[in-house]
C-alpha cells in the first residue's frame, strides 16, 4: 500500500495541522511515512503546500513524484488547481469553497468551481458553513479532514484519536467542536 497526499492552502489556513492530524493517525497504525512542510516566508499569506506519503514499507522521498498523488486536500479553491500536475489520473480532489482573495488578479470564482467540478473525482465542500455548524469557522480544516477520511488509508477511529491528541491541551470543548467538524465533513463527501 502506498498513498501520497498533497495539502494546499494559503499561509495561515492551518495546512500543517491537517497534515499533522493525518500523519499522527497513520503513525498510530504503525504505518511508514514521510511528510514535507513549508515554513518561513510563504507562511505570510502565500501559497502553502505540504505532502504526506504513507506506506506499509519504508518511504524514502519526502516529496511526491508528478502524477502520483492519490488525494489533494485544499483549504482554498484556487490553490486546489495549482497542484493538479502532481495528481494521478484517478486522484480525489477535495477543496473548500471559500476563496482567499488576497491577490489582485484572482480569477473568476465560478470558473474555478467549474474547473474543479470537471475533474474526474472532485468534491467542493462548504467547509466554512459546516465549521460554523460545528461551533467555529476555525474548525474548517478539520471539516476537510473529515471529508477526506473516506479516501485515506487510515481508520476513522485513528483520525478521531489524532484530532483528540492534537487539540487536547486546548480543553474538552475545543476537542468536541473539532470532532463534530470531523463528522460533518465526513458526511459531506459522498
Amino acid at each position: 500500500m502506498k498513498c501520497d497526499l498533497i495539502f494546499a492552502g494559503v499561509g495561515g489556513q492551518g495546512v500543517l495541522s491537517v497534515s499533522a492530524a493525518i500523519g499522527t493517525a497513520a503513525l498510530s497504525e504503525g504505518l511508514h511515512m514521510k511528510q514535507s512542510e513549508v515554513h518561513g516566508m510563504s507562511q505570510r499569506g502565500g501559497a502553502v503546500t505540504a505532502a504526506l506519503r504513507i506506506s506499509d514499507v519504508p518511504v524514502h522521498s519526502p516529496l511526491v513524484s508528478s502524477g502520483s498523488a492519490q488525494l489533494l486536500l485544499s483549504m482554498e479553491p484556487l490553490e486546489a488547481l495549482r497542484y493538479l500536475p502532481m495528481l494521478s489520473k484517478d486522484a480525489t480532489v477535495i477543496s473548500a469553497m471559500a476563496p482567499v482573495k488576497n491577490i489582485g488578479n484572482y480569477p473568476d470564482l465560478q470558473e474555478i468551481y467549474a474547473q474543479i467540478r470537471s475533474l474526474p473525482k472532485a468534491f467542493l465542500i462548504d467547509a466554512e458553513q459546516l465549521a460554523r455548524e460545528a461551533g467555529s469557522v476555525r474548525t474548517s480544516n478539520i471539516v476537510l479532514v473529515g471529508a477526506a477520511s473516506k479516501f485515506l488509508p487510515v481508520q476513522a477511529d485513528s483520525l478521531v484519536q489524532a484530532i483528540r491528541s492534537l487539540f487536547e491541551r486546548k480543553g474538552e470543548k475545543i476537542v468536541e467542536m473539532n470532532l463534530k467538524a470531523f463528522q460533518l465533513g465526513r458526511a459531506a463527501a459522498h
Binding site: 494559503v10 503513525l27 511528510q35 516566508m41 505570510r44 519526502p62 513524484s65
Partner: protein, 543 residues
C-alpha cells in the same frame, strides 16, 4: 516536541538534531533564527525548560553565537551552535579560525542550507565552508541519521579536536520522519582546556596548529573514507551505471532505483572530506556516472577535474542533466537517469493560475510605516530607500513598492551611507529591531562618526517576525523601546531621534516628522514602534 522518551517519534529534521544534541551530551546550544534552521534551537529551548542541565539561548547574531560556543568548548562542555547557510557568512570569522584551535568540549555546527531559496537570498553550499576550514562535515540523508550523526559529531569533534559541521538542507529540516532515539550520553563536567597555547592564535601558535592539521589530514581522510557513512556497493559486469548520491539526494534515488533496468554501482557520501578511493573504485567499474547532490556541484566539479579530465562521462548539474540550480526531487532524478516522468492531471486551459507570493499580514505595523515613508518621500524628486532582511522586505511587493534594496543582514544602513556619500540623496534606510541588533548597530556607528546625511528608520515590532516571532534579543516594551537608549548611547544627536507609534491613524503625523528629518542634512534615527500582530495574537492565546 519536548518528549525525550525512547521509542519511535515522528520528528522534523530540525527536531531530530535538537534531540541528538541533548542525547549526545550537549550542555549548551546557541543560535540565531533563520529559515530553515530555526526549529533546531526552538526545540532546544523546549528541552532547556525540562532539563536543568541543558541551556539554550538565542544570540544577537551568528558570530556571537559561534563565539559563545567556542567559550563553552574551551570550558570542556559539549555545545551545539545553529544557523542558516548565510548565517555562517556572519560567523565565518570565528568559524574559520576555530578550525585551528584544539577543540576541547565537542563543538557541532548545525547549518541549514536552502537550495531553491524558499526563504533565502542565495543558495550557497556549506560543504565548501567545511572544506575551506579543512574540518569534518557530516551530511545526514534522513531523520534517523540527523539524530545519529548529531550524536556522533560530538564524539568526532572531541576525537579530532576540531569543530564538526552537520550540513542539512530545507527538505530534511522541514520534513517529518521517524526517529528511534537511544539512551542519552553523560555530559562533560567543566574542565578547562589543558593546553592554553592551542587557543591563543598568535601567529606562532597558529602556524603550529595549522601544520598539525595538515599533517594529520591523511589519517582523518582515511578514517572518514572507511567510516560507515560513505557506502559503496559495486555491481558486476561491463555495462554498469555509476550513481553517486550525497545527503538527502539518496532519498530521491532510492525512490526511483527499482525502475532502472541496468545494473548500478552506487556510492553514497554522507561524510567529508571526500572518500577519494571509493570514488576511484566506483569510476573504474562503470560506463558512465550520474551525480546527485543537493546544492552546488561540489563533488561533480572535483571529479570532473581540470578540463573535464574524468575518465568516464559524467551527468550532473554542470552538464545539464540535473538543473544547475534549485533543489532536487524525484522527477529530476528520474529524468537524469533516463526514466520517464509521469504526467499528472492537466492544469485548467481556460485561465492561467496566478502566483500567490507571500505578503505582509493585514494590519501589520510595517504597512503603516511604509505609508508614512512613501508620503514623506513624495516631497522629493529622486530618492533611495535601502532595506534589510525581515518581514518588511515584503515592502518590495508591487502593492507597496516601498523599498529598493535587500542584500544581507544589516546592509541597509551601510548601503544608505555609501549611496548618500556617492551623491544620491535623500536616502532612507529601513531595518527591523532584530536585524538592527544583529548587524545594523555597527553600520550606525559609521554613520554617526561621519554624521552621514541619511535617515534610518528602525521598525520595532518587538519580535523576530519572519522566523515565527522569537523574542528580540533586547525586547522592547512598546513606546519604551530599548532601541532608543541604544541609539542615544551610541551618540546620535537626541534632537534627531524620534520614537513614533506607527498606526493607520498616524500615517500623516508620522510622515511629517519623517519628512523633516529627511530634510535635515545629517543623521536622523526614527524608531517606528508597534508590536507584530501575529506575535500579539500568539501571546493572547498562550496567556
Amino acid at each position: 516536541m519536548n518528549s525525550t522518551e525512547l521509542g519511535h517519534q515522528m520528528l522534523l529534521g530540525d527536531e531530530a538534531i535538537a534531540l541528538g544534541a541533548v542525547h549526545g551530551g550537549a550542555s549548551l546550544a546557541y543560535g540565531y533564527p533563520g529559515t530553515p534552521s530555526t526549529e533546531i534551537l526552538e526545540t532546544c529551548l523546549g528541552y532547556a525548560k525540562v532539563f536543568p542541565r541543558f541551556k539554550a539561548t538565542w544570540c544577537t547574531n551568528e558570530k556571537t553565537a559561534y563565539e559563545q560556543a567556542l567559550g563553552a568548548s574551551l570550558a570542556g562542555r559539549r555545545v551545539l551552535v545553529t544557523m542558516k547557510h548565510v548565517g555562517l557568512n556572519v560567523a565565518a570569522d570565528p568559524f574559520m579560525s576555530s578550525a585551528l584551535v584544539s577543540i576541547h568540549g565537542g563543538l557541532v555546527l548545525a547549518v541549514a542550507d536552502d537550495p531553491g531559496m524558499h526563504s533565502s537570498q542565495n543558495e550557497q553550499d556549506s560543504r565548501y565552508f567545511a572544506d575551506f576550514a579543512k574540518i569534518i562535515c557530516l551530511e545526514p540523508a534522513d531523520h534517523q541519521q540527523a539524530y545519529d550523526m548529531t550524536r556522533e559529531a560530538f564524539v568526532l569533534s572531541e576525537k579530532y579536536k576540531m569543530p564538526v559541521v552537520l550540513r542539512i538542507v530545507t527538505r530534511l529540516a522541514h520534513s517529518r520522519g521517524v526517529v528511534l532515539p537511544r539512551s542519552a550520553s553523560a555530559i562533560n563536567s567543566v574542565n578547562k582546556a589543558q593546553d592554553p597555547q592551542s587557543w591563543i592564535l598568535l601567529p606562532n601558535n597558529a602556524r603550529r596548529q595549522w601544520h598539525e592539521r595538515l599533517t594529520s589530514e591523511a589519517t582523518l581522510k582515511n578514517e572518514i573514507e572507511t567510516g560507515p557513512h560513505n557506502q559503496l556497493s559495486l555491481a558486476p559486469g561491463d555495462d554498469v551505471l555509476g550513481v553517486i548520491t550525497t545527503g538527502t539526494a539518496r532519498n530521491y534515488y532510492l525512490e526511483v532505483a527499482s525502475e532502472l533496468k541496468t545494473p548500478v554501482s552506487h556510492l553514497h557520501i554522507g561524510a567529508y572530506p571526500l572518500p577519494e578511493q571509493k570514488i576511484q573504485q566506483l569510476l573504474a567499474g562503470v560506463k558512465k556516472l550520474v551525480i546527485f547532490e543537493e546544492g552546488y556541484p561540489y563533488l561533480e566539479r572535483l571529479i570532473r577535474g581540470v578540463g573535464n579530465s574524468s575518465p568516464k562521462p559524467i551527468s550532473g548539474r554542470m552538464s545539464g542533466e540535473v538543473p544547475a540550480d534549485g533543489e532536487l526531487n524525484p522527477d529530476i532524478v528520474r529524468a537524469a537517469l533516463g526514466l520517464s516522468v509521469q504526467k499528472g492531471l492537466s492544469a485548467p486551459a481556460s485561465f492561467t493560475i496566478p502566483g500567490r507570493p507571500p505578503q505582509l499580514c493585514p494590519g501589520c505595523p510595517h504597512i503603516d510605516s511604509y505609508a508614512s515613508i512613501k508620503e514623506a518621500l513624495s516631497a522629493f524628486g529622486v530618492s533611495l530607500v535601502t532595506a534589510d532582511i525581515g518581514c518588511y522586505t515584503l515592502g518590495a511587493m508591487p502593492e507597496y513598492k516601498a523599498i529598493e534594496s535587500c542584500v544581507c543582514m544589516g546592509a541597509s544602513i551601510g548601503m544608505a551611507k555609501g549611496a548618500s556619500e556617492a551623491g544620491l540623496q535623500p536616502v532612507v534606510a529601513v531595518i527591523g529591531d532584530s536585524t538592527f541588533f544583529h548587524s545594523g548597530m555597527t553600520a550606525l556607528v559609521d554613520a554617526i562618526s561621519a554624521n552621514s546625511n541619511i535617515t534610518v528608520m528602525i521598525l520595532d515590532n518587538e519580535t523576530v517576525g519572519m522566523t515565527g516571532g522569537q523574542t528580540t534579543i533586547l525586547p522592547s516594551n512598546g513606546m519604551q523601546t530599548r532601541i532608543k537608549d541604544v541609539v542615544l548611547g551610541l551618540g546620535v544627536n537626541p534632537e534627531h531621534v524620534h520614537v513614533l507609534h506607527t498606526h493607520r491613524t498616524q500615517v500623516h503625523v508620522n510622515s511629517a516628522i519623517i519628512q523633516k528629518e529627511i530634510e535635515y542634512q545629517g543623521l536622523s534615527v526614527i524608531i517606528a514602534v508597534r508590536e507584530c500582530i501575529e506575535t500579539a495574537k500568539r501571546k493572547k492565546v498562550t496567556s
